[in-house]
């Protein structure tokens, strides 16, 4: 699967960027081969519509899913329209580690078919839910390690 991970730099050793529309780099990663196509986000500094423009970029590059910190309402509507699965709750860490955690299925994806206006309310609920789940996951990990 082609997964887009938002990043501060152009390769897997770069640190992730938690925003989607404003992220400087959009890394399109083939989760099987680990091939990376680094797409510079030309609209990161746009005054308006950065989320929609970023969605267009990753859709044009064939992304089927997005892993980022949080998705705004307009980007969510665009991602939904293009059928891109959204995984939120990315932490600040090297992209390689985020990818590893993704492959361990530590993020839960959503593919809502809602309008932009209803997606706003939904996104807040989802954000909280995933945050909690993510926290639990880390706790278990630490217990296992100890």
């Amino acid at each position: 699967m082609k997964l887009c991970i938002t990043a501060t730099g152009p390769d897997l050793d770069s640190v992730t960027d938690l925003s989607f529309g404003r992220a400087p780099w959009l890394l399109i990663v083939d989760t099987d081969s680990l091939n990376v196509e680094a797409v510079e986000n030309s609209s990161a500094a746009a005054r308006q519509g950065a989320g929609i423009a970023a969605t267009q970029l990753i859709v044009d590059h064939g992304a089927e899913a997005l892993l980022t910190g949080r998705v705004g309402p307009k980007a969510r509507a665009a991602l939904d329209a293009a059928g891109v699965r959204i995984y939120e709750g990315l932490a600040r860490e090297p992209v390689r580690e985020a990818l590893q955690r993704f492959k361990e299925e530590r993020f839960s994806g959503v593919r809502a078919e809602k309008t932009a206006s209803t997606a706003v309310g939904d996104s807040r609920c989802r954000g909280r839910g995933m945050g909690r789940r993510q926290g639990m996951g880390q706790g278990q990990c630490m217990r296992r390690g100890g």
Binding site: Q48, G49, A50, I52, V59, K74, A81, A82, G83
Partner: protein, 309 residues
């Protein structure tokens, strides 16, 4: 201070009719712009002139309330919204690149959807090589025309939550322009502030009355509006409302002086003015012999003498 290109200033002063326009503005909100505009307009009517009052404060228009008029003869104000015709798109992506708001989105080949805000600029429409976009309409507000004895009130209203106030002001002034020759003089009531709405409202004004009050906020905002008038080379005059507040009228005079102006009118808050305000009736109508009414009558005479032939 920056200077504008001569063509911009020329365009600002170009109007398609001969009827003089007098602006009432002031920067700060709540200083009495509408009170001044309404009383000036009614005082001009009382002199036997045919007067249009145009309420360009499209976010919160309330000249009608002070005149006891209801808004009538509504005309909707709309802007272009792109409508995409399925099957005609050749997938060139030019509309996506042309949209400066990044509001267009192509979820799959041959399909364009409007996802974000649209300001009706028509860039996508202009660049489309295959006529895949048609002009749809989106409503942003209304213009209204209400008649009282000798006075015609034009009002613009922006629908709540929208940002296209300047366009409503422009349409309102176009509606007035078509009938401008019916009037001897036009009084413009602007919104507070120094933004595009106010600039559009003052476009073509021969004189702008800057209303203020002797408070720190009043002198600060007066400085801003007088700077705006200088920028567009509009003749200005300063009207101090509530001049008897225990504030610093000398500070207001200082601000006016820095812009090469004097305070031409001071108005104290007398009991009759307050009385008319709480009743929502112009003081020149309710208490025509009050000091406040005389002040407005005096300004009306001076303006008519200078601007109405």
């Amino acid at each position: 201070m920056p200077e504008l290109e001569p063509e911009v200033i020329e365009d600002f002063h170009r109007i398609p009719f001969a009827t003089p326009m007098i602006g009432v503005t002031g920067g700060k909100g709540g200083v009495g712009k509408t009170t001044v505009a309404v009383n000036l307009a009614v005082a001009l009517v009382d002199m036997g002139l045919r007067v249009a009052l145009i309420d360009c404060d499209v976010d919160t228009p309330n000249a009608a309330i002070l005149l006891g008029l209801s808004l009538t003869a509504e005309e909707p104000v709309t802007v272009t919204r792109p409508d995409f015709i399925p099957g005609r798109c050749v997938d060139c992506g030019q509309c996506l690149a042309a949209c400066r708001l990044h509001s267009l989105f192509r979820p799959k080949a041959g399909t364009i959807v409007l996802m974000g805000e649209c300001n009706g600029c028509e860039a996508c429409f202009l660049v489309c090589p295959s006529d895949a976009i048609e002009r749809g309409r989106r409503r942003i507000g209304s213009t209204w025309k209400s008649e009282a004895a000798g006075l015609t009130l034009y009002t613009g209203t922006l629908d709540p939550g929208l940002e296209e106030g300047t366009l409503v002001v422009r349409r309102l002034k176009e509606r007035l322009a078509a009938e401008a020759e019916l009037f001897d003089i036009i009084v413009i009531d602007t919104a507070p502030g120094i933004h595009c709405n106010v600039i559009e409202a003052l476009k073509g004004a021969r004189l702008a009355i800057a209303v203020t009050e002797p408070t720190p906020l009043g002198s600060h905002d007066l400085d801003l509006i007088l700077s705006l008038l200088e920028l567009f080379k509009v003749r200005g005059t300063v009207f101090v409302n509530r001049a008897d507040l225990p504030g610093r009228v000398d500070e207001i005079a200082g601000v006016a002086g820095r812009h090469g102006m004097e305070i031409e009118t001071g108005l104290n808050l007398d009991q009759q003015l307050l009385d008319s305000y709480v009743h929502g009736i112009p003081v020149v109508t309710m208490h025509p012999h009050s000091r406040a009414a005389m002040t407005f009558t005096d300004i009306a005479r001076r303006i008519a003498g200078e601007y109405v032939s």
